[in-house]
Subunit: 203 residues, 4 copies
DNA sequence: GATGAATGAGCTTTCATTCAT
DNA sequence: AATGAATGAAAGCTCATTCAT
């Protein structure tokens, strides 16, 4: 018997839609597609989400919350800044490898189809859980004297653009190696980019 | 007199479509929208491009060729590697600032709607002009002993992901400053990430 | 109450489309035409048939089944071969007179627009119910010693070509008399053409 | 240099259109298709025929004239009625085998798409050359005492329906043999159907 | 005679959403 | 909660025909 709660069903719908949106694209996935994949009726789906756009918005919030939570765990450790970067890169790539739909959704649905998120996700409010944790990581690195105190967005853009770019290349099957292969190189590159000056001279 | 050639008209169509696709999205821009913006008939548009997808593909080739050409000019100078990075970042951001549709198209149409480019733009063949120049820049930096000889994609992902990420944030109106403001910071970050080890110690 | 079942509605659509296709032609009848004649929406029509071609194919199967059934009744009687021919000619002409759309559809839609039936009605599979009964009639006539044992297609072509030709002339309003007028002549002609040699001399 | 006359060019266009219409269907063949196949421009084609429908009508007249001429030659011989039937069947099947487009056009374009010929080919005026010769053949057969004096259309329908039906089956690749194989059988069937009673008893 | 770019109405098909049951 | 038939606006695309050159 064990009835499924309305909240659980919402999540089940979101996960299925996430899978389809990220794989087939937002506009090329239809509501009937989603309903059929879930074995439920179109009409009933509308009992849970009042439009296709709203469904898309709830999904990005869900992803942001999920990833933010992973980052929070890292932020709460006592690891060095460099090790934290390593962990973040790893968590991001592992997610991209094992549950590619999350990162793909972020890159290909959320970032690309702004009209869908225009009303309801203004600014970064639908991804704030995630951004906040990156911000915390960065500020702590600065406070501990490990990272240069530069403009947050210069650092954030580096971090997320870099990781996003790699996952994109991976999705394009353009990378000759698995994502895991690049973790060390990328950690190194990010760390070098953000860390405080080396004590001695500099070109 | 001075009639417009068929090739010139094709380009005029591409530029208009580029504008609309990048601003409104590929699926939310209709062929009638494009035709109306050009003051021409829907049917005639199909005398120039045999489908909406083909139009989209020709546009990305056009952009890649345009940006590749700008990069080639930089590659052909005698500037130092660091100065070249600075120029590349600047050219990219200037383009994003002055002709934002090109970069937006790249990020939001080409990267996001893979189904549109699946047949005809396999791999990176529709953006090869651009990628090739980045590759040339990188390899020359390595050859001159300025850049570490790491995996090309680790470097490419950093470069393009970073710049793309910043432009995205700019497009989201999330950046507190104009793009130009970040040029120096970003040049610095990229250079630090890619350059060879400092002669002395290093963590 | 007494709701109409989905299957019944499919048939209602087919009958209406049959009427329009046969009267106005396949390409000159539009889906909106059919929907309007049925008082339903265009979109809903596509809930029953997934394309215009599929609709056309289901109609020919329906006709073949209907006519095949009529022929089966004749084949199951104990009438003489000659009487059977008479009945078949009569049933065909009566159908052409009272429900002309069926025969017209056969002649003008199915036989003429092969591209529509190319995929899905290969060979004669969409008209097999009908062809099978003609075959049965012919083979029994041979077995009983009434008809010459000639190539099936020579006989089939005579039968169907003749009847089709007459209905065509009738449709063209070229015949000075009603179809019924010709039943006896035609029966006689067919019978003479197919029956076994007369016992005595021969031209 | 030998310039081509306007009339010759009209015929060249008709022959090419005939080929395409009969093979691809009237509605599925476009004017640009025809122009391209002829290596001429769309606009120029309209200098020869003022509409697609008019082109189609001129073609059927051309075919009717061509076939009528063949029949006239047969009618002018001194052959027996039976031999004439044999010749007519043969000429028809040979045409269907060697220049299938003519017969196919007759069956699939002219007979099927009445709306195209409604205005301009009322009744049988566009095929009168051909029909007239059949009529002459039949009346002479009657006059010579070879054929029963039955309604003309009963005889005409048999003749043309039968031959048309066989060619159709041939076009469908349903016939196990080449058309020539059936000439004798069919001649026999037609002759038996139409000839005067055998002197002695009868069924 | 010849060209082919241009028109624009109209086609088939799709799909988010609603609502009677 | 659940169903899925029904809606209808709108999409991409086609094509007979025209006309300036």
């Amino acid at each position: 018997m064990a009835r499924i709660s309305k909240e659980e069903k919402k999540i089940a719908i979101m996960l299925q839609a996430l899978k389809l949106f990220s794989k087939e694209g937002f506009y090329t996935t239809t509501i009937p597609d989603i309903a059929k994949a879930l074995g439920m009726s179109v009409g009933n789906l509308y009992n849970y989400f009042k439009s296709k756009d709203m469904l898309a918005q709830e999904i990005i919030k869900y992803i942001s919350s999920y990833l933010g939570n992973e980052l929070r765990k890292i932020n709460e450790t006592n690891l060095t800044t460099r090790e934290k970067i390593h962990r973040i890169v790893r968590i991001y790539f592992e997610t991209a490898q094992n549950e590619p739909e999350m990162i793909e959704y972020f890159l290909r649905v959320y970032l690309a189809n702004r009209e869908v998120f225009k009303e309801g996700c203004e600014g970064m409010i639908c991804v704030s859980d995630f951004v906040t944790e990156i911000m915390i990581f960065f500020e702590e690195g600065v406070r501990k004297g490990d990272l240069r105190d530069q403009d947050f967005f210069s650092a954030f853009g580096l971090f997320m653009g870099y990781l996003g770019g790699m996952v994109f290349l991976h999705g394009e099957k353009v990378l000759p190696e698995a994502l895991a292969f690049y973790i060390d190189d990328i950690t190194e590159n990010i760390y070098r980019a953000l860390k405080v000056e080396d004590k001695v001279h500099e070109d």
